[in-house]
Symmetry: C2
């Protein structure tokens, strides 16, 4: 196939399907280019996580990691890992290996170059061959326990732990399952094709053999947030529009203020990074489904059909928290979800939500559907953003009757990397 390593050819390569590429592993230029020197050039610029020339591709490289302000894809596969090694070098190697493989997969290539040597296991597991990259993004995070665990400095990194990367405190209403919480590392794979997202997580998991094991994972089948003003607001499994007033990629001022870690915020290695909080929020949908419409609407503070706040008629109408009805009572009830979550109620604090709906089949104990919202939120500092917001919600939110938080995790999301670099490099340099 003889691909040359220049910009134009790279663009063209992005348009090859994996089916065309998978048979070309050893003999084609793709494998050779990588084998020869790494630093595989994707032909994208370094100025951010822009989409590449092929509209199915999102660049892996950029100032920030992709998968944060990238327009939210439809499907999610999130995984947390526990390190089984005691070696800092192993951790570095794993992050480098993951980054190289992520770069390849986000470019629509197999996870590794050699897929046709008869006497070797293929580098790539193959189930995404022939599929487009489907806007795949792979976002890598580092948990608090990578730095300190049970008071131990496991990898000589304790002095570099950001203060913002503290384990989350106990929060009101927590009903957390440790098997669905925490982790030393995380991978968020988002794509418009779930098979592509699964393929990414599976191949990264495989590369971690002997160094890290999966601790928990979560599939999400429907996005519940917009991260671009061009996206329509989806509905969560309670049937309500979710994410109407989210921070969007176009609002660079809000991103600087509330999402990206600034130069003076803590250790320099996190500048242009972010922090992600995940919460597995089980919805008690059987109870919710028996609730009458007006109660449902008062619980959220919005109309179900239109998504409009109770003080408006259209989805994006102003949420008027001060408005009172003819009876003198607030139109948006005191415990309504949008009142308690609103920036106005939280000293202007905002977070970038990027959640997904999930179902994990049956809860055999209760005989009910195990379904809900896998909440993902990016922010500059969880201590001053997610934690106080959730403390307020956990104490007072009318929604609490219908949800429980069953999983929880926080990770530092290092900045993006330039071509030839890898995610986490700033931590170790």
């Amino acid at each position: 196939m003889g691909l040359r390593k220049d910009k134009d050819t790279d663009r063209k390569r992005g348009q090859l399907t994996r089916r065309q590429v998978i048979g070309a592993g050893v003999t084609g230029g793709v494998g050779l280019a990588l084998g020869a020197g790494g630093g595989y050039a994707l032909g994208q610029d370094d100025s951010g996580s822009d989409t590449a020339a092929d509209t199915n591709l999102v660049a892996f490289h950029g100032v920030h990691q992709a998968g944060i302000v990238t327009p939210a894809q439809d499907r999610l596969h999130f995984a947390a890992f526990d390190l089984t090694t005691h070696s800092q070098a192993d951790v570095r190697d794993l992050l480098r290996t993951w980054s190289l493989a992520a770069e390849r997969m986000c470019a629509g290539l197999p996870a590794g170059p050699d897929n046709d040597s008869p006497q070797a296991p293929p580098d790539d597991t193959g189930e995404a061959a022939g599929l487009s990259a489907a806007h795949l993004t792979i976002t890598i995070g580092l948990g608090p326990s990578l730095f300190t665990k049970d008071g131990q400095d496991r990898f000589g990194l304790a002095s570099r732990q950001p203060a913002a990367l503290a384990p989350l405190p106990a929060l009101p209403g927590d009903q957390l399952d440790p098997n669905l919480s925490d982790g030393d590392l995380c991978v968020q794979a988002c794509a418009n094709d779930p098979q592509v997202a699964f393929h990414a997580v599976r191949n990264l998991t495989r590369m971690a053999l002997g160094v890290a094991v999966m601790r928990w994972s979560q599939l999400g089948f429907g996005r519940t947030s917009t991260t671009s003003s061009a996206q329509s607001t989806p509905r969560n499994l309670m049937g309500f529009r979710d994410g109407t007033n989210n921070i969007v990629a176009e609002d660079t001022a809000a991103l600087e203020k509330s999402v990206w870690v600034g130069a003076g915020d803590g250790p320099a290695w996190m500048t242009n990074g972010s922090y992600v909080v995940t919460r597995r929020i089980r919805m008690l949908i059987e109870a919710w489904d028996r609730d009458i419409l007006s109660d449902q609407e008062n619980t959220f503070g919005r109309r179900k059909a239109s998504g409009a706040p109770l003080t408006g008629v259209s989805e994006h109408d102003t949420v008027n928290l001060a408005a009172k009805g003819a009876d003198g009572l607030p139109v948006i009830p005191p415990r309504a979800h949008i009142r308690l979550a609103a920036p106005a109620t939280n000293d202007g604090v905002r977070i970038l939500r990027r959640g997904y709906s999930f179902t994990d089949g049956m809860d055999n104990e209760l005989g009910q559907l195990d379904a809900g919202l896998f909440f993902i939120a990016f922010q500059r500092d969880p201590r001053t953003q997610f934690v106080p917001i959730q403390r307020r919600l956990g104490q007072n939110d009318a929604l609490n009757e219908y949800i429980k938080h069953t999983g929880s995790a926080v990770f530092a999301v290092p900045p993006g990397t330039r071509r030839g670099g890898w995610v986490g490099e700033t931590l170790f340099s």
Copy 2:
């Protein structure tokens, strides 16, 4: 919105999104037409499960149920239910209710008409509002235990149980979990949007309250079969193309011979129906991923990249089971999966496969991914089709080293119904 109940308007209605319709429940014609007399006309003919004028719609009505030879959609939500009632009338009412709701949802409408009465729970849970019907099909099945369970004639239906609807015998290699097996009823929801499939199962589950409870469910994120000659062959999670020589909708002779129940096959109520066998096949993908390419290819009997049989160069080349190599040995090994599954090895017996890839997160016991293939196969008589094929595979298939069957079920799939009718009506009349 004033929709009139005539063919042209019905076609138009199909193109409305649920978002437009959900707010019109009580006041619009949709709700009134249904409330007045049922028998909601979709403007489709009765000659089969043809797609309707709106290309996102698949007709619920037809000679056969939809979701069997319908071109396989990308996503699956399958659910099995246990009846908690002792009343035959309850079972009839549930099947009628399910059919009416299925008809609505397949037409892109809310599950029920009333969604804006403030003092009532909405008929529809809302999460699919605004989404297209995404080729939704809902296929309803009846398990052996509906007729006889522990020797009891539970609902006065024992005399109508088809001989073909026998519980599956123990098969070689079975490692079945009863919590993932069997059931009195089943619903197979397929769609190109997983949120639409989830929505269908959730709303049908809700309507069963007090009569049936979900026993198990399975999400599938990627189809592994073609049921139309126009579809390309997808890959399963072993990275191989799956379903190359499946029966397709265009092969009406094969469907008559191997899929549809004929007039003389058993009780008349099953004529034009079919039988579905589901098997939850866990793949031991960590072991598989460590296997070398030539072993993987010999296990299947096909090339991984191209999907070609080892006796050919292209996917659809002839599987030549007699061919021998220079060493005098069969090119397709004696225990290769395609040899043992081939009609030539099974007295010409074929089945229509319609499986999906799944992952259910972690197997905490083994610390491995719980992922594999949710096998679904339709046929005229499982006793002479699935059972002997699986007996041969379970004894000899080289794949057995990498898979285990963890769930199993069989259901009678009654014929389709005309407008105004309901699935299962033939059983009770």
